[in-house]
Amino acid sequence: MSAKPKIAFYEFTSCEGCQLTVVDSLQLYPELLEAVDIVRFREAMSEMGDDYAIAFIEGSCSRPSDEAPIKAIREKAALVVALGACAHLGGINTIRNRHDLGEVRRFVYGDKAEWYDTYPARPISAVIKVDAAIPGCPIDRHEFVRTVKRLLQGRAPELPDHPLCVECKLKENVCLYLRGTTCLGPIVRAGCDAICPTYGDSCEGCRGLVPNPNIEHLKEVLTEHGLSVDQTLAKMTQFLTYQVMEMEAAGHGDPQPAH
């Protein structure tokens, strides 16, 4: 038996684009295959092993029938890693959480709506304990490799806890607000090397909020830069619905001691 840790990939409600990025990471770092043994990876191989130490789960939990298989993975794996925005934050699947689910189902499935069971989408960590998360839509391949290295070292992976503006400024991008558009950079977790602003697109928040985001004042900034209330809400709900609704439920959740 190989001494290399065995790894499995699983997918729930998602596009599997994060797993495609894993395939891409393996092309960029083929030596990764020397360090681990992949036993289940639908995007890249036909074999289906179910003996593994580390499980990467892509996708959100969006229906009652997702829960049992997610819990079964937790039973088997020593470590569970949420892979990508859907698993980490609930992802774009959570946009529906602010709407009437009956209407959403009818909109999507029409007269077949009753065929599909669904409930508010949640991140994997809302169902089982998750040991680490790799944020992003899709994930960043370098961060994926960094996370694997940390796990192989027996260390807990660390996510950057500073906002995207830091990486963006260190790359010396011209601020998108100075280029006449808006961006969620000041409240969103860095780690993607500011890839969207670098190519001129504003941050949409796929990596989730930083700890203690100043959402109230960012909303004022967005208003000052011409966004309507609806546009601001749309910005805040594309990837951030689950986190923002959790903060609302906790009575705002932006505690700032006076000094």
Partner: protein, 352 residues
């Protein structure tokens, strides 16, 4: 050495000449702003630029830099100190003051080997500022509108030519070989005098008090309510410190390769404005409030650096004021503190 004249028409020849011995960097236009980057010809840069996104500090203290390589299995450590000989063209006088402070900080106590290595390989060509660059700048109030003595070559725009004052051997070494350069004539002195006397009235004094009072003003403003007001607005995005020419905090990280046996240690700019900056071993964070972090920042700029190194930590470049999305600026902050001390009844919220 007497000043020289470099005709603007010869700028391109000069850059090409310098490139045979140096990496040449200068302010390049980008999306309506300017960014210091490598240039190959005079058409790629603009020495009359307003300001740059990041200060030229980045050539002495890069945003991200390898420090050493290590092997854990062989107990080997090897310092990584490298970088090309560089000429930085077009450093504003505020940024020269900032580098004067950095030179002092980095050579004091445990000297910073990486900074000093870059510094020794870098030739600084400063330019005289002839008009205010941005609405956020306030160099005249901070006393940074003339270059300090750390320049290697200093250029003043005379219209069709630059006056070039040599400040060091390194600066003098940039001129031989440039056939179009010639020594100053009497008429050049008259032209330079006129340009220098005409420039000063163009710059406003923006502080409402004398800058020498700033450290004392801060000392007596530690408990001001203003910090709380700034803390409520601040997004803690750290743009203010990341664009600052005098900030030098960094974080050190190790990265291993996939063998897990070798890797490198690197550093990256850090910021006192970030949530976890003051988190210490055991998890305690001694500066959790944004208000306390903003206060710390302004104390660093207006008092602590003066106490420790004899130079102000703010050079009035205005980059933080231009970058801040919630309009927290040094001028407004310092003036508001002054007003609250001197007219407590008439105090108004900062920034309108």
């Amino acid at each position: 050495m007497n000043p020289m004249i470099i005709p603007k028409a010869a700028l391109d020849d000069w850059v090409r000449l310098l490139r045979s011995s140096y990496r040449v960097v200068a302010p390049r236009p980008l999306h309506g702003q300017h960014v210091f980057g490598e240039v190959g010809s005079a058409s790629e840069f603009d020495l009359g630029y307003p300001t740059s996104v990041l200060p030229p500090k980045k050539y002495l203290f890069p945003a991200r830099e390898d420090l050493l390589k290590f092997r854990t299995d062989a107990q080997q450590v090897e310092a990584t100190i490298d970088g090309p000989r560089t000429v930085v063209l077009g450093v504003h006088t505020c940024d020269m003051h900032a580098m004067q402070l950095l030179d002092r900080v980095m050579a004091t106590g445990y000297s910073d080997q990486h900074y000093l290595a870059h510094r020794n390989k870098t030739t600084l060509v400063s330019v005289e500022c002839l008009k205010p660059c941005t609405a956020g700048s306030f160099c005249k109030s901070m006393g940074t509108l003339s270059t300090p003595e750390v320049f290697d070559l200093h250029l003043t725009d005379l219209g069709d030519a630059y006056a070039a004052e040599v400040g060091s051997d390194r600066g003098a070494a940039l001129l031989p070989g440039l056939k179009a350069a010639r020594p100053f004539a009497d008429k050049d002195t008259a032209r330079l005098n006129r340009v220098m006397s005409e420039k000063w009235p163009r710059f406003p004094l923006r502080l409402e008090f004398d800058v020498t009072e700033l450290p004392s003003l801060l000392s007596t403003s530690y408990d001001s309510e203003l910090w709380k007001e700034l803390g409520e607005r601040c997004l803690a995005c750290a743009m203010c410190t990341n664009v600052c020419p005098t900030c030098y905090c960094f974080n050190v990280m190790d990265e291993v390769d996939l063998t897990l046996k070798s890797g490198k240690r690197l550093r990256e700019w850090d910021s006192c404005q970030l949530d976890k900056f003051a988190t210490v071993a055991g998890g305690h964070n001694f500066r959790t409030a944004r208000a306390a972090r903003q206060r710390h920042r302004f104390f660093r700029k207006g008092k602590y650096q003066t106490d420790a190194f004899g130079l102000l930590g703010c050079v009035g470049c205005g980059r933080c004021a231009e970058a801040c999305l919630v309009h927290i600026t040094p001028v407004d902050t310092f003036n508001e503190l002054y007003r609250r001390q001197h007219q407590p009844a008439a105090a108004t919220p900062q920034g309108g």
